[in-house]
């Protein structure tokens, strides 16, 4: 055989020899395995699915060829998904099979390693947010925001069914939020922004007794560092609404602590650490105050003691969860993003506090520098917002944005079109040396 792998007349991952299969059939007392299928003829499938079995090598070649159809594009793309470099240590150690192929830690005595890593992840988020409790993951920032909204329904002392979000919010987040609050019967409304930050006066006018939660982001969908988060926290407080702040672990290493601006819940995507660019694959971050502990969605790892008197870790407060509480659970989440959380924790540990702060500072200085260079290009003004930026910024282009984006794509560069004459550029997704070619190219097409 020139190809790799065993012949594909059955599953290559089934270990039974013909003799073993026969011995097992004898033990069960049937002649043929088909006799074990208790499926009525009327619904049995005896056709062909039409899926050809391939060797390992053939599948590998096929997928490489398929993905080869993806264009080579130097991405200056962000808007909620970022490609920070992931160290080899994370790639290597997170793939150890004891981590990768393990299950949810329902038998904690044999899963101390993963439990401890998740406990360390929760601890990282507690330090970054300044809040008391972090769970050990949701699917992504959008679903974490949805869970925050349903939490606000459960914990708010007076009734309310309106969720306020910024007008600059990525469509994906808003659409997921709307799905999550459809069941509880909430509505989502936006409040205006002022030069990239919260328009506090407009928000104050929008506040009413029926507001259950106010959501703000820093950095915002336009890459602006929110300067008025504290005012949002005060407004939420005055109206007995929860203040939910969207951010990420790299931003939190530098920006004001969410707890210090009055955040009751912090959500966001922690995949900014440990994952890199993976087509929107996320890691939902969720942290909140101690008083809402028993209303938190998702899994929590706690420290305890074992029979030998040693500190040991276990999943805890599981009576909130669907497998115990069923329809009275705080969330339906079961499988979460545990392994992605492990990777984020590893990446943070690899960076250390200095490295994490340095990365966050790069996220301020690199877009600042790139915006200044683009601002010198004829037909371009950057940044649009006269604010501090994090990772990315919006720029004005005299040409239609759609045309600029298409021309750039033809030259091998990716940026977002975010308005008729506005593009958004993320400066931290690529090594800095790629920026020179980008500036030259945009000078030609813009």
């Amino acid at each position: 055989m020139s190809d790799s792998g065993p012949p594909t007349t059955g599953s290559p991952y089934v270990p039974h020899s013909p003799a073993e299969t026969q011995a097992m059939l004898d033990a069960v007392g049937v002649d043929d395995v088909e006799a074990l299928f208790d499926v009525p003829d009327s619904v049995a499938f005896d056709g062909d699915l039409g899926i050809d079995a391939r060797s390992e090598q053939a599948v590998r070649t096929e997928i490489a060829a398929l993905l080869g159809h993806n264009a080579d594009l130097t991405e200056f793309l962000g808007r909620g998904h970022y490609g920070h470099y992931v160290p080899s240590l994370v790639e290597d150690l997170s793939r150890r099979s004891e981590f990768l192929t393990s299950y949810t830690q329902y038998q904690p005595e044999v899963d101390q390693g993963f439990l401890q890593a998740l406990f360390e992840y929760q601890s990282l988020l507690v330090e970054l947010t300044g809040l008391d409790v972090a769970n050990c993951s949701m699917y992504d920032d959008a679903t974490a925001l949805g869970e925050a909204a349903t939490l606000s329904q459960r914990v708010r002392s007076v009734s309310g069914d309106r969720i306020l979000v910024p007008e600059h919010l990525r469509d994906g987040k808003r659409a997921v939020l709307e799905n999550y609050v459809d069941g509880p019967g909430c509505s989502v409304a936006s409040y205006p922004m002022d030069d990239g930050c919260v328009d506090v006066e407009a928000l104050a006018a929008a506040m009413a007794e029926d507001v259950a939660m106010v959501y703000a982001e820093t950095p915002t969908a336009r890459g602006v560092v929110e300067e008025r988060a504290g005012a949002v926290g005060d407004l939420a407080d005055e109206h007995d609404a929860l203040f939910c702040l969207g951010t990420d672990p790299v931003a939190m290493a530098l920006l004001e602590r969410p707890a210090d601006v009055g955040a009751d819940v912090v959500v966001g995507d922690a995949a900014t650490l440990g994952t890199g660019t993976a087509y929107g694959f996320g890691l939902g971050l969720f942290a909140t105050r101690e008083e809402y502990l028993r209303q938190v969605p998702g899994r929590l790892v706690g420290a305890s003691e074992d029979a030998a008197g040693q500190r040991a870790y276990t999943l805890t407060l599981q009576t909130r969860e669907q497998h115990i509480r069923k329809e009275r659970a705080t969330s339906n989440i079961c499988t979460n993003q545990a392994w992605v959380a492990l990777r984020a924790a590893m990446h943070a540990a690899w960076l250390g506090p200095d490295g994490l702060v340095d990365l966050a500072e790069d996220c301020v200085t690199r877009p600042r520098d790139l915006a200044a260079r683009l601002d010198e290009v004829v037909g371009l003004q950057a940044p649009v917002h006269d604010r501090h930026h994090f990772r990315e910024f919006v720029a004005h282009v005299d040409q239609p944005a759609r045309v600029v984006v298409e021309d750039l794509a033809r030259e091998g560069y990716g940026v977002h079109a975010v308005g008729d004459h506005r593009i958004q550029v993320c400066a931290t997704a690529q090594p800095p040396q790629r920026e020179a070619g980008f500036v030259e190219t945009i000078a030609e097409v813009a």
């Binding site: 089934v14 899926i51 993806n70 393990s102 997921v176 993976a278 669907q322």
Partner: protein
């Protein structure tokens, strides 16, 4: 086979926390932002790369995965995860940004399209979305689709019917979508009682959520009658794909009358569960429901006749006409989907059929070998034994000392002291015999001796009541006197 799990200790704890080894507080002032926009300082662990490598290697050693031994957790389908799917998912061209224009991600879109097609064939469904990031998210997607369908048809339906043996996620999902849950008792054979179903279903019923084979490992033989009852009342039939492994290539939810289903790729299609995720929970629907799928959806685009590009084909995203909106910020858990595609392509028809054959053979063989009472039957891929007078949790801890992971315990509640066991197809006869021997040894333990178990795992029995009574959920709140430095 003797077994001792690795155990790294230092004082009154296993491997110390990173923060117990070394932390550093960094002053964040004097950076590129004004002080009033920044935090004051940041305190985090501060260790060298060699120290971290050793820390995480030790943690891995103190953890149990499928490559450590069998994990026969009922309804979880913890089979062997082939290494090569990790390699192909790590292909550099798989790592792209989700906001790229369609034309620049034709490979990604074609792979999605092919996987949608494979899953549709396997499930007997007409259209499949890959967006839900886990099985429970798939359930939510499916129930939101059912809700949108009824609303579109002007029907106001308020309840979802769920059998008492169903996964907890079904109940939680229905409640999350705003439905009232009607719990359906199982009959004496552990299956859906069609008469009870008729009584439970009415003009308020939006859907019946059903697992088939169910969590007792039993095929719902009356599935056509069940489908008729639900459909006659105007409801939809939802298939929970957690147990699809038992039916690969042998029966398809679409053929049984299910209108909407989810697939658990981290179960059926061997993508690693990663200690609790990521998974992926694609959802399949009939033609009638296709316009309600989450947006955007991938389709093959053919250049229209007479236009530029006629005859060329490509792939594009589009928004289904009555889409429920989105269930994930982008397009779901993409790397997991690449692994699932690779796994299905490797197996093909013959491998998929062999999978269900050996999964079912293994379950029935193991059920024959164990010393506990196994009610109901015949079984598909899993069975539920009763530990009888023993505490199922003690049985589980006892099994840990035999180098195996125990079954799911105390669930479903309709069996006393349940031991819900699913060996999967990737266990050999030798491995199953060892599992049976572990069951035997534990069943033979005198009263009380199992209370000491486990003794050979990293940790001894953990005080879970204490953990819940006095939650310590981060290193900052642990007793600082424990800190080593």
């Amino acid at each position: 086979m003797d077994y001792d799990q690795a155990r790294w200790t230092e004082g009154a704890r296993y491997e110390p926390l990173l923060a117990e080894k070394s932390t550093c507080e960094v002053d964040v002032a004097d950076g590129p932002l004004p002080d009033d926009l920044t935090r004051d300082s940041l305190e985090l662990p501060d260790l060298s790369e060699p120290e971290l490598a050793r820390h995480y290697t030790r943690l891995a050693q103190m953890n149990y995965g499928v490559e450590s031994g069998p994990i026969p957790l009922g309804s979880c389908t913890m089979k062997y995860n082939p290494s090569f799917t990790e390699d192909v998912a790590a292909h550099p061209k798989a790592a792209v940004h989700p906001d790229r224009p369609d034309q620049s991600v034709q490979g990604t879109l074609e792979l999605c399209h092919r996987l949608q097609d494979y899953l549709a064939r396997i499930g007997g469904m007409d259209a499949v979305t890959l967006q839900p990031p886990a099985g429970a998210a798939g359930e939510f997607t499916g129930i939101q689709i059912a809700k949108a369908y009824h609303e579109h048809n002007g029907a106001d339906r308020s309840s979802v019917v769920i059998p008492d043996s169903a996964h907890g996620t079904n109940f939680a999902t229905a409640a999350m979508a705003g439905y009232h849950v009607v719990e359906l008792p199982s009959d004496d054979d552990g299956r859906v009682d069609v008469d009870a179903l008729e009584a439970a279903v009415d003009e308020d019923t939006a859907a019946l959520m059903l697992t088939n084979p169910n969590t007792l490992g039993l095929f719902e033989r009356d599935i056509e009658a069940i489908a008729d009852v639900v459909h006659d009342a105007g409801g939809l039939l939802y298939y929970d794909g957690a147990n699809l492994n038992a039916l690969l290539g042998r029966a398809r939810p679409g053929d049984m009358g299910f209108d909407v289903m989810h697939y658990n790729v981290h179960k059926t299609f061997a993508t690693p569960h990663g200690g609790g995720g990521p998974g992926a929970g694609p959802v399949g629907v009939t033609e009638e429901l296709a316009s309600f799928l989450p947006r955007p959806h991938v389709r093959r685009e053919t250049g229209a006749e007479g236009e530029a590009g006629a005859g060329t084909t490509g792939f594009e995203y589009y928004d289904p006409a009555h889409s429920i909106g989105k269930v994930h910020g982008f397009y779901g858990n993409w790397p997991v989907l690449v692994k699932a595609f690779a796994y299905i392509a490797r197996l093909g028809d013959s491998g998929l059929r062999d999978t269900s054959a050996k999964a079912v053979l293994n379950a029935n063989y193991l059920a024959e070998q164990i010393p506990y009472d196994v009610p109901f039957g015949p079984f598909h891929h899993e069975f539920v034994a009763s530990a009888g007078d023993q505490d199922a949790a003690d049985v589980a801890k006892g099994m840990l000392d035999h180098g195996v992971h125990p079954p799911t315990t105390k669930w479903p509640e309709i069996v006393d002291e349940a031991l819900m066991t699913e060996p999967t197809e990737s266990e050999s006869k030798r491995s199953l015999d060892h599992l049976a021997a572990a069951f035997d040894a534990v069943a033979g333990e005198a009263d009380g001796t199992l209370a000491d178990a486990p003794t050979r795992s990293t940790a001894r029995r953990i005080d879970q009541v204490g953990a819940a009574r006095d939650p310590q959920l981060c290193w900052q709140r642990l007793d600082r006197s424990d800190f080593g430095n």
